[in-house]
C-alpha cells in the first residue's frame, strides 16, 4: 500500500491570522495486540510515534502518539501566520522512518486590517 502523507493549509492568509493545518496520513497504526488467525501470529506493532510541524524551520507543534490513535490518523491544529514560507509536517514511525509533507503559505500584509 502506497504511503500517503497529506497536509492542507490555506494558500493566502493575513498577518497574525490563526489558520488551521489539517494533516492526514495513510497508515495501519498496528497496535501490536491483534492476533492474526491465518498466520497464527500476533501482528507486530507498527505505529506512527511522533508528528512534528515546522514553520520556516521552527518547531511549532509536536505530537506523541500511542497505540490508541486510530488507523489513517487525521490531525488538525492551529498555527499563527507570521511570514510567508513553508509549513512542513513530519511523521516518524517505530523504526525511525521519517516521512513528510510540505506546503507553501503566503502571508499578506493588509494595511487596512
Amino acid at each position: 500500500m502506497k504511503a500517503i502523507r497529506r497536509i492542507s493549509v490555506p494558500k493566502k492568509v493575513k498577518k497574525d491570522q490563526v489558520f488551521t493545518v489539517r494533516t492526514l496520513a495513510r497508515h495501519k497504526m498496528e497496535p501490536g495486540v491483534r492476533f492474526d488467525a491465518d498466520r497464527f501470529v500476533v501482528t507486530p506493532r507498527h505505529l506512527l510515534q511522533e508528528v512534528l510541524c515546522h514553520y520556516n524551520g521552527q518547531l511549532v507543534f509536536r505530537a506523541e502518539w500511542f497505540s490508541a490513535v486510530s488507523a489513517n490518523p487525521y490531525l488538525t491544529f492551529k498555527v499563527k501566520a507570521v511570514e510567508s514560507g513553508e509549513i512542513k509536517v513530519t511523521w516518524i514511525d517505530d523504526y525511525a522512518v521519517e516521512t513528510f509533507a510540505a506546503a507553501a503559505i503566503e502571508v499578506i500584509d493588509d494595511p487596512k486590517s
Partner: protein, 180 residues
Amino acid sequence: MVSDRPEGHVRDSFEQRRRLLVSGGATVIALLAALTPRPASAISWRNKLALFRRAFPVQPDRTEALRMVDYVVDGRAPRADLVTLEIPDLVENGEVVPIKISVDCAMTADDYPQIVHIFALDNPYPEVARYHLFPENGDAEIDMRCRMRKSSEIVAVAEMSDGSVGVAERHVDVTLGACS
C-alpha cells in the same frame, strides 16, 4: 499346597506382574521418546511469543489509568473551565472516535498549554496521545481520531506554562469496541 491358598491370590499375583510389566514398558517407551532427537518444532519462537501474548493479553486496568492521570495532575488543583472536550456522546465504531480539545487561554509566553495529555480510561494502554504546544500556535485547538475498547471516560489534562493544570472528562458510549 496349592489348594490352601485362596484362589484370588494367584490371580492377584498375575495381575501385579502384568501391571508391573505394562508400567515398566510404558516408562521405557517414554524414556525412548524423550531421548530420541525430534525434528525442529513446527512452532517457531515467534509463534511461541504470539501464543504467550494470546494467553496473557494486556487487560484494561482502570485504577492504573487513574493513577496515570493523577501522576500528570500531581496534586495540583485543576483550573475550572480551562479545557473543553468535544466528543459525540454515542459513537458506533470504537476504531474512530473523533475528539476535539480546546484550551481557553491567551497563548502568550506565560499562558499557554505546554503539554496536553489524552487518556482513555478503559483501554489496555490508557495513554492516547500527548501534544506539545507553543505560543506560535495562536490557538490551542486539536482535532484527532482515537480508538476505544469500550464505553468509558476520556480525560484530557492540559499542563500550562505557569504550572497550573486543567482537566476535562467526558463519558463516551461505544457500540462496537476497537482493538487497541
